[in-house]
Amino acid sequence: MAKDVQVHKEQDMERAQFIRPHCFICEEEAGVISLKLEMPGVSKEQLEVDVDGNELKITGKRKGGNAGGSTEGTYLLRERPQGEYRQTYTIDDTIDRNTIEAVLEGGVLTLRLHRKESEKPRKITIK
């Protein structure tokens, strides 16, 4: 029983530590899926985007502890979410793993996922 309680606590802690960034997923142009993630406070150096098989893993740390910047001082108001950004997506076989482009600008990470050429819709000419 004591072990169970331990597990619950750890889960709660883990849940509190990571922020799931707000996303916007759309297909702007045919064959390119654009995935935008809002991660304010994350700079290029602290961001990691990994593709591992079918998993697209995004991790963003904020500098200087939890809130970003110096943490000394007294908080009079604390509304911003604390912790590090973490999100994992499952991508299927139609996405070309080699042509994923990532741009971080103004706290927004934009990933461009290209569909494989063989998966794109094509017209069949009638002879």
Binding site: F24, E79, T90, G107, V108
Partner: protein
């Protein structure tokens, strides 16, 4: 294409129930959606942090995806106002939207400043989508250390 949220579910049987319970609880909780104000003129209030330092106050505001030119910061009679507009990006009539959690439109946040803020000495930095405003305290309100003299 399936872009589905990935969950780290261990093989423990009760974890699934925990997960289900969290999902149900989360249905009624939107802690990360920004608050909106105004009846006719709806505005988003972005989340802010106010931190007091011995010499200054720091106000931090998360404004991702917003251009520096679209943010307007004013101080009038002890009230700090951060306002502006977040323009929609990458959305056109032809685009196919799969999932949208972000917001756009105008936002405004007002904050009554504590007494003792020197409104002349205000610095604002906008970096990586975080707006940091540093407000210096007036000289006479800064905390002073009193030296103890021994006789």
């Amino acid at each position: 294409m399936a872009l589905v949220r990935w969950y780290d579910r261990d093989l423990e049987p009760f974890n699934t129930f925990d997960w289900l319970q969290r999902q149900i609880n989360d249905l009624f909780e939107f802690p990360r959606a920004p608050e909106t104000h105004g009846l006719f003129d709806r505005r988003v209030s972005p989340a802010i942090d106010v931190i007091e330092h011995p010499e200054s106050f720091t106000v931090k505001c998360d404004l991702p995806g917003i251009d520096r030119k679209d943010v307007d910061i004013t101080i009038a009679s002890g009230v700090l106002t951060i306002k502006g507009e977040k323009k929609s990006v990458g959305e056109s009539a032809h685009s196919k939207v799969y999932r949208k959690e972000t917001w756009e439109g105008s936002f405004q946040r007002t904050l009554s400043l504590p007494s003792g803020v020197d409104t002349e000495k205000v610095e604002a930095v906008f970096k990586d989508g975080v707006l940091t405003i540093t407000l210096s305290k007036r000289e006479d309100t800064k905390s002073k250390r009193i030296e103890l003299k021994s006789k």
